[in-house]
């Protein structure tokens, strides 16, 4: 459940970078740890963020967590489906559960490839 073509942050966001626009979501591992999501707070379109900046929030029945921007840039789109169907993040974290798009203002830094991320979560699971 760790797609090869994505980049990953230590806070469990994934980033798909295409023509300077990055699509962001949380990983399968992250949604599994949180359990059924009941609320997703997304950033406002037009907001500019630094890499690593807190940009949104997630709640499940039993937990709450933050979303961090994996790359610097401007938020250009958010997934409108998540307001009333946060369960899409659980059902399809790399597809229909995408959260927002950022027009990157810098190159990605300190992100992991799939192999490094797999190692990372293997450690965390212990």
């Amino acid at each position: 459940m760790i797609p090869e073509n994505l980049l990953y942050s230590a806070s469990h966001e994934w980033l798909s970078l295409e023509d300077g626009v990055g699509t962001v979501g949380i990983t399968h591992f992250a949604q599994e740890q949180l359990g059924d999501l009941t609320f997703v707070e997304l950033p406002e379109i037009g907001r500019t963020v630094e890499a690593g900046e807190e940009i949104g929030a997630l709640e499940s029945v039993k937990a709450a967590s933050e979303i961090y921007a994996p790359i610097a840039g401007e938020v250009v789109e958010v997934n409108p489906e998540l307001e009333n169907a946060p369960e899409l993040v659980n059902e399809d974290p790399y597809g229909k559960g995408w959260m927002f798009k950022i027009k990157a203002s810098a190159e990605p830094e300190e992100l992991m490839d799939a192999a490094a991320y797999a190692e990372r979560i293997a450690e965390e699971a212990h």
Binding site: D36, T38, E41, E59, K62
Partner: protein
């Protein structure tokens, strides 16, 4: 984690992939698949809950009735054998030591069902205050409690155990399962039609597996149990009930009908704060201990329980609020980074449960 107690079903839960966590000193299942699925399954079909962490005491003797009447808020004078009643054990300040069910098994014997985390406190409190002619026996270690809850619960029970259930709400029957006594009580913590079953621990696993043979029955964990009970506004001891608040503050003044002089009675009706049901504006949840503010921003209370309500589609909460402001229509909840708007509503939040449904 080493000192956690187990139930007769703990191994079963682990073998079936449950997420486990400590609760009331026991290693308990929080969920097997998804809390939301388990919640919905309970509201539409029937779910099985391991509730073995709760405590059971037997109280017997010629003077059991009088002794117990002096300790609990239940009006035992009108509690006939075959019935059970909800109420409280109070301290001298009229505040809640525990909430409990009292079953009248026969004229001179009662079963008390108490919270797991309060078992020892309750036992010592009661023992010290029992007069001659009444004896308390803690049967928790040999008693398993399994809840079968949901609109299909009765049908499922009859299907796999071959015994029809015709109980009215808050009554019970003595039955048998594999030659062992099985106490079948029409009560629960979900707002749905349902049963609470008490059996010897040695039969717990067999009974659990038998009930799961019914196609509509799935196991559910304490996660769903918590969202189910909050949707109907039932209090959880340690959050919504504690030794700082009276039953009247928790909204139970109307249930205090006993004419006996029970401990704490003179102060049981005191109200400094009131437990207020709140409907939140949206899906974002308030959490235990979040501050409650008036609409002008003055702090007037604290959230005791809060969650997204899966059957309603928005978040709800219970909060103790200063009695003088408890009648306000609107509040704000300080949930850390953001303030949530909350509206005072009535209980239950979820009104479609079949707990009281008439059975033909």
């Amino acid at each position: 984690m080493d000192n956690l107690l187990t139930t007769p079903l703990t191994s079963w839960h682990r073998e079936h992939g449950a997420k486990m966590a400590p609760f009331a000193g026991f290693d308990m299942p929080i969920s097997y698949r998804s809390i939301l699925d388990e919640h919905r399954h309970t509201r539409t079909k029937a779910s099985l809950f391991d509730i073995c962490h709760m405590g059971e005491f037997m109280l017997t003797g010629d003077r059991a009735l009088e002794s117990l009447s002096r300790l609990v808020t239940q009006n035992l004078a009108t509690l006939a054998p075959g019935k059970c009643r909800y109420g409280f054990l109070l301290n001298d300040n009229g505040c809640v030591i525990d909430d409990l069910l009292v079953y009248r098994l026969d004229p001179g014997s009662f079963m008390l069902v108490v919270n797991g985390a309060r078992m020892e406190t309750d036992r010592e409190w009661i023992k010290e205050r029992l007069g001659a002619g009444a004896e308390l026996e803690d049967i928790s270690q040999r008693t398993a409690k399994i809840d079968l809850q949901g609109p299909e619960a009765f049908k499922a029970f009859e299907q796999v155990l071959g015994q029809p259930v015709k109980l009215k709400y808050f009554t019970f029957d003595a039955m048998h399962f594999e030659q062992e006594p099985l106490l079948v009580s029409r009560t629960g913590y979900t707002g749905e039609l349902g049963l609470e079953l008490y059996v010897h621990v040695e039969k717990a696993l067999a009974l659990w597996e038998r009930l799961l043979e019914a196609e509509v029955v799935e196991p559910a964990g304490l996660g769903a149990r918590d969202t189910l009970r909050l949707e109907i506004g039932l209090p959880l001891y340690g959050q919504d009930l504690d030794e700082e608040h009276t039953p009247a503050e928790a909204g139970y003044a109307g249930m205090l009908k006993s004419e006996a002089e029970y401990t704490g009675k003179t102060r049981a009706f005191d109200v400094r704060e009131s437990l207020v049901p709140l409907k939140l504006d949206g899906r974002r949840s308030a959490r235990h201990n979040d501050a409650v503010l008036t609409s002008e921003g003055a702090a007037v209370g604290r959230v005791t329980s809060g969650s997204f309500a899966p059957s309603l589609g928005y978040a709800v909460a219970l909060a103790y609020v200063d009695a003088q402001r408890a009648g306000d229509k609107e509040f704000l909840i300080d949930a850390g980074r953001s303030q949530l708007r909350a509206e005072r509503v009535g209980l239950p939040f979820f009104t479609e449960g079949g707990a009281r449904k008439k059975i033909e």
